[in-house]
Symmetry: C2
Subunit: 194 residues, 2 copies
Amino acid sequence: MADHPARAAYTVESLLAVTVRVFNERGYDGTSMEDLSRAAGISKSSIYHHVRGKEELLRLAVGRALDALFTILDEPDATAGRPVDRLEHVVRRTAEVLLAELPYVTLLLRVRGNTATEQWALERRRDFDHRVAELVQDAVTAGQLRADVEPRLATRLLFGTVNSLVEWYRPGQRGAEHLPDAVARFAFEGLRAR
Amino acid sequence: MADHPARAAYTVESLLAVTVRVFNERGYDGTSMEDLSRAAGISKSSIYHHVRGKEELLRLAVGRALDALFTILDEPDATAGRPVDRLEHVVRRTAEVLLAELPYVTLLLRVRGNTATEQWALERRRDFDHRVAELVQDAVTAGQLRADVEPRLATRLLFGTVNSLVEWYRPGQRGAEHLPDAVARFAFEGLRAR
């Protein structure tokens, strides 16, 4: 093993990092196992040693983003307290997860398609959206969110705002640690000075 | 002409409508003149009668979205009054234009690429963003927008929110006429009840 450190070091983790980059560049449909083998600098059979194929790599990659997102919903600040505070926690943490797992969340947000894995990812995204929509509804019912923006629309605008970070945020950008708070302020307090 | 009403009726306008749909479905790079000819139900030479090729169709299509967006900046409510009110007008109208010209704006938002036309479109988008960013800065300077969201970030979040409508809005959806107001309320007043 000491003779081949680079090769020996290849794990599912490092293979996934390369895979996600290539999927985001070329699209999932446009990527072949050949492309992945070339980008990773290892043979296709080495890749097949780790996974059954391209679709399993997609499942692992978007699964990583989904797991990180669903974990948020079980955090103490998301499960106890006033609905509006729980919602704000979820929005802030969703932005944090997006920044921390940028390529994985980017890939998740681009999933459209007909393979079983893509359908599964879309359904898990919808589940997450529904869980957040319930929180929005609870906060509206409690009189903590304005009633003149319909709850379903409010949920969509919240995700629209958070998810738009993938359009321009680049890893290592200055001030990234302030972004989740700024997004939450924007969404809950609005831009107008008081 | 009366013998071939469908064919005689083909104008640049109707050709564009088909083109934009196909570009949005397959991507600009993934669309051939053959695809356009098939989708439009007219021969390639009939298309060449109207335009020089695929890139000119792209220029006409994104030009339509860009013209509609830039027109907003010259409207009376965008040029006179308090900066915050001018900005709110621009945000509301940008949402209106997005809904009215949905396929054209969707195509514009997806432009990434290296042809001269794609570069031109990206540059015009940046110009528009800069014009709005100036308005944001004016409103912050006037104390009308909160100072704890950095102006450049505020501009990005505003566009992120408005542009996210293309992800889920479908033409003819109920309540569409209320969307631009709801987006402006969300962005300027925030979701929290007062």
